[in-house]
Each structure stands twice: as structure tokens, then as C-alpha cells.
Amino acid sequence: MACLSPSRLCARVQDKLMCQFGHKVRRQTVFVKLKPPGPTPLRIFGRTCQRVTTCGPACGSAGMGPAAAGAVRRLASSLQSTSTGSLPDYGTQIVDPYRLLEDDLNGIYEDIRSELERNTNQAELNTIATYYFDGQGKALRPMVAILMARAVNYHVYGENSALLPSQRQVAMISEMIHSASLIHDDVIDQSDFRRGKPSVNVLWNHKKVAMAGDFILAVASMMIARLRSDEVTLVLSQVVTDLVQGEFMQLGSKETENERFAHYLTKTYRKTTSLIANSVKAVALLSGADEATSELAFQYGRNLGLSFQLVDDLLDFVSSAQAMGKPTAADLRLGLATAPVLFACEKYPELNPMIMRRFQEAGDVEKAFELVHKSRGLEQTRFLARKHGLEAARLAADLTDSPYQKALVVTTDLVLNRIKCVRVRVRVRVRVRVCVRVRNNVPTHNERANTSNVYRQ
């Protein structure tokens, strides 16, 4: 069903489909830009498409979402969450966070771009700095921040609460800090592609790219300062410190085998999780929530972030194997031992020397990749990710019941089941055969209503 989700993309297709009544199956060939067909997230997590049949259109191509461009991908990934089966049942309503926040998220990249543009009179600096704010990202961080903001506002002030402008600013700031770190990562790792286009370090002078990263951070700091809240500034400045310390931790692997996992988790917290956790804490502080609530927000963000990164590390092993037909394992190639490897080396101690030499000898990457797959490393990583996801969902359940609070729960599933944004994404045109079963009672031809109806059923 995820195939149907990009309603805008397939509007024409659906239009026709909606005219078909009865159990007719119609086939259409749709061209979409796709990452190479990865494994379906459903399969990764050993689930089946339990709800697919109740969702109307069946998923012809085994849940392969046309997760290409931003908005499309957002919808697609969120729709998959409906089929995981681990959600509490809200009757017919499944809350899609991206749809719920459509108005809030709308234009967020434009706002970031104009904020950056206002802050420089150098054309090239503006070009580099705004390069990754083209709306092609998943905008996960702003989404979670706004969701938490609305959920906490609802929790504190009840139904008539609104999103504060300052909270939306924090959402923008979180994405800016994230991008600034991506830009510096690109120079460090010399990556070629990101978000489906050449990465900044391929296109521009590296010195200028580094400065553009500093520039984004500076503009973000100015925005933080303009919120005029000491607490929020402290919380968000912690993020920047954590990011850098995380990078430093990634440089060396001097720790012993016992310390290694703790080291990995701390590094993960600093590099990925701190940003999510502290930005949701910041929006909670801005709403005027009490300490317990902002701590709850922080813990939600921490668990969600850990779960997010664990899935990321997992997919680095899984998606590449199926997609490319050969192991790519980007993390291994960068010399990084992530959770699957660390789990695997309990069973295969021969991984230890490879970890210590950062997989630099010929054949190391392939060998490690193979051992990870032979071990239970992937399963254990998945288990840990799910554990943190469930913890986040449990925390979110403590907030006052509201659509936003429900969406926070849904988000934990969305993160667990997302499709990997492959670091080096190869652009392929894949012919997707969309098989859609349209049920008798699909009520309307109205295109706009299509998607929402479809996934509510």
C-alpha cells in the first residue's frame, strides 16, 4: 500500500482507479525515482503486512515504497507504519505525524533558506549553505520537535493550545544544526552523494564548505539567542558540544572489549541522539511545562534517537546486501564498528582484531560483513532498537491524550520501520508494477481525499 501513498505522484493513476468498482485489479506502470529496491522494512522486522488488506489497496510490490523525493518519502514511510501491527488500535484512525503536521512543516525549508539568505551578502556562501535545505530531506528532527511541542502544549494548556512561533524556530534550528554537521561530515568522509545529489564537498572548495558549515551554525546560534531563553540556549549549546565530542569518539577505538559497547552507545547518543533529545526538551521548556514533563520529553527523544540510530546501523548491513547484490556496508568501510558488529563479535571473537585495525586490511570488510550475517547480531540490534522504541512509546503515553500524543507513539514505529536513506544513493529508474485492489466502498472521486481515506480504513 505504500506504493499508493504518494498521492500526488500517482494522482492520475488513482483517478482512474477510483472509477473502478468491484474487485478489479488494475495494473499500471509508474516511473519513480527509487533507491535500489531494499528489503521491505516489514521483512526486516519479521512482520507481515497484517493491515494491508484492511487498508484497501494491497501492496503489490511487497511494500517497496517509492521513497524517492522528500514529501513523497515522508508520506510513504509514515504509511508503512500502519502495517506494523504493534500500534495500539485507534479504531479506524491511524495518526500520520507528517500529515498531522502538514501545515506546520509546510515551508519549513523555505523559512530556513530565507533566514540564511538574510544573513549573508555573499552569493556563493548562500548557495552552499542552502544546498541541503532543498526540501528533499525527511525533516525527521523538525517533525519530532513540532510534534512534541504540540503534544506538550496540549498536555499543559488543553485543546485550544497552539504551536508557539519559538517552538517552530527550535524545529528549524534542529534541522540547521543537523545540516551543519552533515556538511562537515561530508568534508571529513569525502562522501560523493547525499540525499540523491552530489554532496557539497564534490562541488565546492573544501575551505569554503567548512566555512559554510560554520556559517549555518552561527546563524542557528543567532536564532537561538533571539528566543531569549537562557535555559533553551544552554540545552541547545549542549547539542553542539555533544556532536563534536561524538566525532572525537569516532576517531579512536582505544577502549577494551568490555568498554566497547558502552563507548558505542555514548558515541551514538552524542552524535545523533543528543540533537533530537535536546530539541524536544527545548520545545517543552518553551511551552512552560514543568520539570517532569520536559524530562519526559528529553527521555522520549533520547530513546527515539537511539532507536533511530540503531536501525540506521542495522540497515547499513541489510539494505546494501539486497540492493546492490554485494555488500557495501558503508560504516565498515569507514572503519566504524556499529552495534551489529559488536554483537557479532560475542560469537565470533575473530572480529576483535578487525575492529581494532578499523577493517583496514584487504578482505576485512567482506569478512566482517559475512560474520555479522552469520551471527545473531542483526537480530540483537533490532531487539535493542525495538526496546528503545517501546520505551519512547511508553513515555509518550504518559502525556495527555491528543492526536499529537498519538502521533508521537506512531513516530516510534515509523522510525523502526523506515526505509534506509542510503548514503550513496544510486539513481535508478525502476519500473514498479502497482497492483491495486480497489474496494467497493471507496467513496469518492475526490483526489485529495484519496490517500487519507485509504489509510484510514
Binding site: R118, N119, T120, N121, Q122, E124, L125, H184, V187, I188, Q190, N201, V202, L203, W204, N205, H206, K207, K208, A210, M211, A212, D214, F215, L217, A218, V219, S221, M222, I224, A225, R226, L227, R228, S229, D230, T233, L234, L236, S237, Q238, V240, T241, L243, V244, Q245, E247, F248, L251, G252
Partner: protein, 424 residues
């Protein structure tokens, strides 16, 4: 716009930086060293031999504000991250990565360059005093500055050092990266980028701890200005700056006024105008940070906005006077092998003889391809040096003028001595 205009501006309490009266910056040694790498030793030597006053002025000033300027270097020794960087730096020894030179300059020239900025911030803090309402707990009584002001001085040094370190990256994206093993260069870049980020991140949290959001905004805007500086005008493949082609007077855009505190510096009428381009370049690269730091320290002390503005102007003018002083050094001793192509003496010479721009164009790939000898002779033959001295005098006068508004005290004398030490 003239110098008097600047004064009018300051009277009405707004910071405008006039076009010609402009701000200059003189970046310290490491910076110039990086732009024209071979000139580094000459500059350092020249400074040492011809300006003994400078060192004395600085070391006496340090006594006035208590202990040697800051604990920053001590903190470095104690920090895991920096220890990590130092460890990795060792691997780079023997490679050609400019990070080594940056690191060396930071250590050996520390007194003259990096720390001097923090020192000036502290001297301004002490010279201006602080509001009587500030509780004793927050003061460093012996030194006569606030703890927060000392923290700010460190932030200034960290921001500046971080910028210097990031400027010292190698562009691996150029057709010719230059001598050195690409792996070494890449590794050096990684360390330089992370090291600079570490300093930047630390300055973020130090600033946040001061719990003054206007201050955070002001200092963040200085970081933004430094980043902007690296994009101004023409560049060679390693991002070394080249002057823009000089424009005849009647082709120049009307200069915009620079009301540049939180807004980015307007670029109208900058390119191709010797004075204004030089001023814009160095305001962004140095004046903004020193000026904003001086302004911020007065804010911390609870002074009125008008005095904060004065502080900003003082820092800007001092930085520009300092830059002019550096630019002149290349032409005061024996002929150097190379010198900054964006220095004021050359800018004035190019303005007077636009045909010389052909020589500059040879440096489009690398500034090392330029015929420095011909340019040197042209500068020596023209009145570029004299005009630069005039420019420097203007900025010194402007800085001294601000100084006069502070009460007479040892810190003010120390600042005056530093200014005198750079007199042409």
C-alpha cells in the same frame, strides 16, 4: 565617506562604518602566514626585530589584568579532545599539511597574536570599569574585571583560533592539490575541521553559560562575519584571496552605509574600490570579532548602549590599524619572497595603475604563480605605502578617540601603549 562622518555616526549612537574611513583588520601573523605562506617567517622576524616596543607593551598589559591573559592554553592541555588532536597531529609531522603551521603559529606566536585579542578585551573591560550593582562574587577584584568578562575574552580567542584552524584546511577539490600525500592531507583536514569545531562548540557553551542572550546573538554574528570573510572577492584554488579588478572612479557603485552590527555587511560598492574593499575584507575577517567582543564586554559590565557602540568602534578601528601595520611590514624590511595580495599598499598601487592587474591574474590558479618582484617594485615606486600609512593613522586616531572617553587608568595607558607600538 570620511572619517568625520564616522564620528557623527558614533555620536548618534549607531554603529556605521563609513566606506573609506573604514575598519581595518589586521589579522595576526598566522592568518597572513596562511594566505601567503612563504611570508610567515619574514613577518615574524621583522616584527621581532623592529618592534621591541610591541612585546613590552603586551607583556606589561598582561600584568595589568592579572595573570597571563587566559587559562585557555592550560585548559587545552587538560582536555581529552585536544590531547586527541595532539596525538593525531604527530602523525602529520613530515607531511605538508598547513595545520602544522597553524598549530606552530598558535603556540610560538601566541603572545603576539592569538592571546593579544583576549588581552585587548580584558584591557577594555578594566579601562571602562563596571556598574556598581554587580555583586562582589562575580568580580575578579585583583584584576579589576568580571569573571564573565574573562570568559568572554576566552571565547574571543577560541572563535578566532577556530577560524584560523578552519582556514588552514587544504582544498582537496582542486585540480592540483599541491605537494603532499593525499591521505595525509585528508587526515589533516579531518583533524583541522574537528579541532576547529571543538573550539567553536566550546565557545557556544561558554557563551550560553553567561546567560545573556543579546551577547550570544552578538558573538554569533561575529562567527557569521568570519565565515563571510572567506567568500569575499576573487580567490585562487586554495581560497587565497585576490584583489578585485580596480574600477575607475566613475564606474563604482555608490557605497552603501555600513550599519553592520547584527546585519551582514552590505557589499554595494565594495568590489574594485581599493579602500572600501580592503576595509570590508578586514572588517569581516577581524574587525567584527574584536569590535563585537569589546562591545560585548561593555554590555556585561552594564554600560549604556552608547558606550557599547564606542567599544565596537574601538575594536574595529584597532583591528584595522593593526592590519595596516601588518600590511606595511612586508615593505619595511628587505624584499620578501611574497606578501599578501590583498594588503593595502598593493590595493592603492593597483588603483593608481590598473594595468598591473594582469600580474594578479597570473595567480588565479595559485597565488604562488604571481610575480611578486614586479609587484613589489611597483608598490615601492608608487604612493601606496604612504596612503596605507595615512589609512593607519586614521584608524589609530579613531581608536584613540574612543580611548579618551574612558577614565584615566593603568588599563587605558596599556591600551594606548599598544596603539603607540604600532604607529607607522
Amino acid at each position: 565617506m570620511s572619517f568625520s562622518c564616522l564620528r557623527n555616526v558614533t555620536r548618534c549612537g549607531m554603529v556605521k562604518v563609513s566606506s573609506s574611513g573604514a575598519l581595518v583588520s589586521k589579522l595576526g601573523g598566522p592568518c597572513v602566514a596562511r594566505e601567503v605562506q612563504t611570508s610567515a617567517p619574514h613577518a615574524a622576524v621583522a616584527q621581532h626585530n623592529t618592534k621591541p616596543d610591541w612585546n613590552r607593551a603586551v607583556s606589561e598589559a598582561e600584568k595589568i589584568v592579572g595573570y597571563p591573559t587566559s587559562f585557555l592554553s592550560l585548559r587545552w592541555v587538560l582536555s581529552d579532545e585536544i590531547a586527541n588532536v595532539a596525538l593525531h597531529l604527530r602523525k602529520l609531522v613530515g607531511s605538508n599539511h598547513p595545520l602544522l603551521k597553524t598549530a606552530k603559529n598558535l603556540i610560538y606566536n601566541g603572545k603576539n597574536n592569538m592571546q593579544a585579542w583576549g588581552l585587548i578585551v580584558l584591557l577594555v573591560s578594566k579601562a571602562a570599569g563596571h556598574s556598581p550593582e554587580i555583586p562582589d562574587m562575580e568580580q575578579d577584584k585583583a584584576a579589576g574585571v568580571l569573571h564573565s568578562q574573562r570568559a568572554l575574552a576566552e571565547v574571543t580567542e577560541m572563535i578566532r583560533t577556530s577560524h584560523l584552524v578552519h582556514k588552514g584546511l587544504v582544498n582537496m577539490n582542486a585540480p592540483q592539490v599541491g605537494p603532499g600525500d593525499p591521505d595525509d592531507m585528508m587526515f589533516g583536514n579531518k583533524i583541522a575541521l574537528l579541532g576547529g569545531d571543538y573550539l567553536l562548540a566550546n565557545s557556544c557553551s561558554e557563551l550560553a553559560n553567561l546567560r545573556n542572550q543579546e551577547l550570544v546573538e552578538l558573538m554569533s554574528s561575529a562567527v557569521r562575519d568570519l565565515a563571510e570573510a572567506e567568500f569575499l572577492g576573487e580567490r585562487d584554488e586554495q581560497n587565497n584571496p585576490l584583489p578585485s579588478r580596480p574600477l575607475p572612479k566613475d564606474h563604482m557603485e555608490a557605497p552603501l552605509e555600513w550599519e553592520c552590527v547584527l546585519q551582514p555587511l552590505p557589499m554595494g560598492g565594495v568590489a574594485g574600490s581599493a579602500r572600501r574593499e580592503w576595509a570590508a575584507r578586514h572588517v569581516l575577517a577581524a574587525g567584527a570579532l574584536l569590535g563585537k567582543s569589546c562591545s560585548a564586554t561593555l554590555k556585561l559590565a552594564g554600560h549604556a548602549p552608547a558606550l557599547q557602540t564606542q567599544g565596537y568602534l574601538f575594536g574595529c578601528h584597532l583591528a584595522l590599524a593593526w592590519q595596516a601595520f601588518l600590511d606595511l611590514e612586508a615593505f619595511s624590511g628587505p624584499e620578501p619572497r611574497s606578501f599578501s595580495l590583498v594588503g593595502a599598499p598593493l590595493a592603492f598601487t593597483l588603483q593608481a595603475r590598473p594595468e598591473l592587474y594582469e600580474l594578479i591574474e597570473q595567480g588565479r590558479r595559485s597565488v604562488h604563480d604571481v610575480d611578486y618582484h614586479k609587484l613589489y617594485e611597483a608598490v615601492m615606486a608608487g604612493d601606496g605605502i604612504e596612503q596605507t600609512k595615512q589609512l593607519q593613522r586614521e584608524h589609530i586616531r579613531a581608536a584613540s578617540h574612543v580611548l579618551d572617553s574612558f577614565p584615566n587608568c593603568d588599563a587605558r595607558t596599556a591600551l594606548a601603549n599598544i596603539i603607540v607600538a604600532m604607529h607607522p
